[in-house]
Amino acid sequence: MLKVKNLSVKYGEIQALHDINIELKKNEIVAIVGNNGAGKTSLINTITGIVQCYDGEIIFNNENITNLPTDKIVKYGIIQVPEGREIFSELTVEENLELGAYQRFKKEDKNKIFETLDEIYSLFPILKNRKNQIAGTLSGGEQQMLAIGRGLMAKPKIMLLDEPSLGLAPLIVEEVFNVIKRLREQEVSILIVEQNAYAALKNSDRAYIIETGKITMHDKSENLLNNEKIQEAFLGKRRK
């Protein structure tokens, strides 16, 4: 469904990504695991057109979408749920969700959008209770739910989640990943980039390990979870 081929990204002289090759198939949950500064966010930002790539190709359903502006990428149904919960903190919860469907307002009946809104509210009842509240007053976990809900309002085919566990308490992290796993029922393919290797590997089908801008390993998530090197590097286990 989504293929990234030989992708390289440079910020001036500094090369953030080297020759990245990844693939996301329909209805899959794929994780990209790496430490701070490994290039995870650069990868997602390049796919959604926020950052321009230097070399390589991004293919969606056989169409080349490399370096298209973000609003065009969104039209394809490729939606980013950004790191640090980039929500509209001065707008209400409901306005945040409506803006998630911004492009749908131009071509679809409003009732369909409100149907999606109801679906989001049943997925996240807390958002319904707070729909008229200013989004900046939500707790961290609620803001993450809002960011995911806003992404879903676009009826995405692919969702790219950037560090959904960032800054959340372990229990909330589990809740967020439970929601992510349920998105599969809505026929959304998911790419998660995460520092939290355990949560990401436990909740995905396949995973890539990214280190200083390069993919160093790629396997089924459960295999990686049991891999000694991974355990040592990311899961804090010592070799016997």
């Binding site: 926020i50 950004p82 929500i87 509209f88 903190s89 409506e98 998630g100 911004y102």
Partner: protein, 291 residues
């Protein structure tokens, strides 16, 4: 003291004008981060085009006024599309300077087209003063206040009830998030200039029957509108309205009760004091919603 009602009514009139101009500054600032000095020229061209269409082309007001507003809105949109968007540098300081340069250019152009004489537009409906208690108000004051109130209500509905208006607030709030949900930021910036042009032209037209209009009328009005925006809290619609009304009242009360020579001084001293005590303006940007 018995004239105080009179000063308040005059203050509300000029205050409404300042508020409209201040909102124009704020809308463009929120989309782009720049202070658009061209706002002054939107005011001038609004008034002067109406002079052209009404006095020279002899169109009735109901054609001349909308036509002028449309022309200035198009001019503002083109200015963004052609000049601002194609600027190689996206540096805020450079962009502001481009608007200053363009403003000087258009002021010169206005001088070439219309000369330096001021023009008087007739009031929208009669000149018969209306007595309210011991104050006298001319119908044009009511037009100014009424049109401003209606404009503010319509803007409020636009920003809160339409998806495009919400998208404009979203861009003001968080540009990256706006990009991520698929909002075309260029389109919103363009739209903000069109709205700025609309508001500037409207202000320039409705005040013209009271103060006359000329090729350089926009500069002082623009400066006052800018001051009003800062006074109220730059970037906020509520702040622009409060700042505009307050500045208008201060000027007129100062002129009436103390001395008309010090009218600008009094207003600006208060402005400086407010900024000194509360740099973010009366409403303080942090807490209020931006438009």
């Amino acid at each position: 003291m018995k004239n105080i009602l009179q000063f308040i009514l005059s203050g509300l009139t000029t205050g409404s004008i300042y508020a409209l101009i201040a909102i124009g500054f704020s809308v463009i600032h929120n989309a782009t981060g720049i202070v658009n000095i061209m706002q002054c020229e939107f005011i001038t061209y609004g008034g002067m085009l109406t002079v052209t269409f009404y006095i020279f082309s002899k169109f009735p007001y109901f054609i001349a006024i909308p036509l002028s507003i449309i022309c200035v809105s198009i001019m503002a949109g083109l200015f963004e599309r052609v000049v601002i968007r194609n600027s190689k540098s996206k540096d805020i300081i450079i962009l502001i300077f481009i608007t200053i340069g363009a403003s000087i250019f258009f002021k010169g152009l206005a001088l070439l087209i219309w000369g330096s004489d001021p023009f008087m537009l007739p009031p929208f409906s009669g000149n018969q003063p209306i007595k309210i208690f011991n104050a006298v108000i001319i119908p044009q004051n009511l037009w100014v206040i009424g049109i401003s109130i209606i404009t503010v209500i319509l803007l409020h509905l636009f920003f809160h009830k339409t998806i495009t208006g919400k998208a404009m607030r979203a861009v003001a709030n968080n540009k990256k998030a706006a990009q991520i949900v698929g909002i075309n930021i260029n389109r919103i910036v363009f739209l903000s200039f069109v709205i700025g042009g609309f508001l500037g032209a409207l202000a320039g037209i409705i005040i013209a029957p009271i103060t006359t209009t000329s090729y350089d009328v926009g500069f002082m009005l623009g400066l006052k509108g800018f001051a009003a925006a800062i006074l109220g809290g730059y970037g906020s619609m509520g702040g622009s309205i409060i700042g505009g009304i307050l500045l208008g009242l201060l000027e007129n009360l100062g002129a009436g009760l103390i001395s008309s020579e010090y009218k600008d001084v009094i207003a600006f001293v208060v402005l400086i004091l407010v900024i000194y005590v509360k740099p973010s303006g009366i409403l303080g940007l942090a807490k209020v919603e931006r438009v």
